[in-house]
Subunit: 163 residues, 6 copies
């Protein structure tokens, strides 16, 4: 079976997330245009080109240093991501939601959190702000119950050499 | 006298700042390439296209809603601002500094704060983080004692019609 | 008060004009797209990269050497200025009007001439040609009674440090 | 462990390959610039926007209809792929190699064929042509013994929710 | 008389064809947007930057080495040729037709073959595939009975110096 | 024989010139980058999209209305013609030379005037200004004794069908 676009692009985001140097949370974001062409990708990480071995890699000290996947994806875009869709491995924080909106992204798809772990960035205040922004902007944020089975099975197939 | 580039581009940033809807602080940022061509501009403001009359316009409630001038300038850039210079009406916060760096901006010029008022965003922790980042990245942040006299005098001239 | 777009972009043009090396007339032109993002700027000046100290800086000898603000603004545009608007500190000459039109600019806004001085470039023949071209092309040329007060007052505020 | 770039970008190519409608061979190609930013992707498939249910999906009748992954990746590139690198799930045919070269791609990385099955497109004549072209052009074609373990294991982790 | 666009752009294609190193067949292709601005040009030739003096220049050995004019024109395009028109000196082969389609070209104009010589690339199987593709895709392929008289006469005029 | 680049690109310029509506002088200009890819073309003509049947088509009344080939070529360029070369059917006037320079064109090639007719635009004052500008700027203006034989002969061949 050919994976549908949401599963396919979220799988890409999960793949991108593998590049994250963050030892606690690996996030990935893929920004694609309406033809599903990838315009930019990003993962959460330290400032680029910097010797990050001396920087804190644990909560909460890492927070000011860690640039979110969505921000990196926006900044990596080859063109301005106007009218593009962001595919994220987890639900975005409020600040990233504003930045994506400001960059012209009006559609966001994130994978159902498979880990069922609450995030420090998603407290009650966050929920209120998000609710208010969604009301005001009509930004379209969709949770997608991602199906990655095609990926796991295919990897075995690739290794066994039978596709 | 023809204004020198730093004065000229900071004057542009002060001009952009006038567009800010923030009643307490008006910041402006101009991003220019090495030929001094403007690539993007921004001022601090609410998310675009949103009815912001219902949003808080006072400290500290406005903080999560207010997008900084530097971020808007980056997102407004016509091309990726790789190797460009940012001109800002005041010293940037730590988060904006990281974002500018991540966007490829390695040179930042800001106007000497004419108001001598401390900012809530520039506390001691901020100073330590900035210091550490400057050490690690060699980002070039320069305070410029901006001369806006050419602007004030000229405005009178324009009105009197004698240039 | 936040300046309206016409005042704001004409103020930018007046600011650009300050860079002109012409000792008799300083013109500025800002080309912006329909979202008010600046695409290019220019001032009247000599050919770039040339030792212009030996060139004539007085009327009428300077005429063949002096490239108009509008032409420089068009040539400085980061992208083709198709469907953009030109904001000019004074009324454009006939030749610049044709060039802007040919570059895809169908809307021109110029500041009311504050100096009430006739220009050698705007004689009777000029008026006839302009009239005929406007009839034929429906180019939209608008004189705007620019309000620069916001700029003058703000400059004082910046210096006094109270905005 | 963070996957190295060759493994990471080939994993992307394997992911892209999943979108191929070809029931016998699924190929994927990712074109990235020297900063590892993705410029274009493609998989082998029928002409776009065409009702391909009536087209032959078996060897050899499918051959004239099936556009190779590399060609689609080149045509999907957001910018011209000058000086980019192509990452392919299998060794390219001679014609695609010429087209990539002609498009400005001088570096090609392909995954070791895990299936050990000869391809009809890679006969003796092919080998001679490739050999001659490599001699003449110094195109850099590298076989990479791809390690996809990180992908398979991580997929389980994602499902179990423990990364 | 001013030549009409089809004649004019096909004349350009014939001009481009003169650059072909192929001693048996010289093809040219010009890709223009709907405003008749040229986006790319190509002629049939060997891989670029390669010492092609050692390569076969006769049928059929040259076939795998010779890159068609249409492919070179697509790869030379300054921007992606989405919704552009291809002007070709002769009828395209099936493979080039697919590639042009895949590149977003839905309109093809080719000059009536003035030589009345059958091509090895245009056998019966080719005709069937073309027929089927045209049915499926509605690609618009138009034969144009090119009038090059304006070119021949004008060349004499240029030499005699009387235009 | 394959025409050399100067002949080939000037032949393109002569071809473009055929599109000019000017009944007295038909000029053409082709701007190409250093890889000889065409970036823009132009011919002398009236403002675009205008009913020019009512405009004067004779010297000297046509002068203010007629936009030169070089200007149209610059404004038609798909990208800014920085470091490109202009190929012109005749020697450029002083104003166009400045505009090309200002647009970043430092190399100009024009065809030897085959008509040996003086132009009203090339009087003594013109010659002095050109001389002075060439001294100051080191712009590279080259007259090329264009060989169009390949074109005339080939046109016959095309018609006879024997290339």
């Amino acid at each position: 079976m050919i994976p549908e676009w949401n599963d396919y692009l979220l799988a890409q985001a999960f793949l991108v997330a593998q590049r994250s140097p963050d030892k606690q949370t690996k996030c990935g974001c893929v920004i694609a245009n309406k033809k599903h062409q990838i315009m930019g990708q990003g993962y959460n990480g330290f400032p680029r080109g910097v010797n990050d071995s001396v920087l804190p890699n644990k909560r909460p000290d890492k927070y000011p240093w860690m640039i979110h996947a969505e921000v990196n994806a926006i900044l990596n875009c080859i063109h301005k991501p106007e009218d593009c869709v962001a595919y994220i491995t987890t639900n975005p924080c409020f600040n990233c939601t504003l930045l994506m909106w400001q960059a012209g992204i009006k559609d966001i798809v994130f994978a159902t959190n498979l880990q069922h772990k609450p995030s420090m960035l998603h407290d009650d205040k966050y929920a209120d702000l998000m609710e208010e922004f969604i009301q005001l902007s009509n930004v379209n944020i969709k949770e997608h119950d991602v199906n990655l089975n095609f990926l796991a099975f295919k990897v075995d197939d690739w290794r066994l050499g039978d596709i």
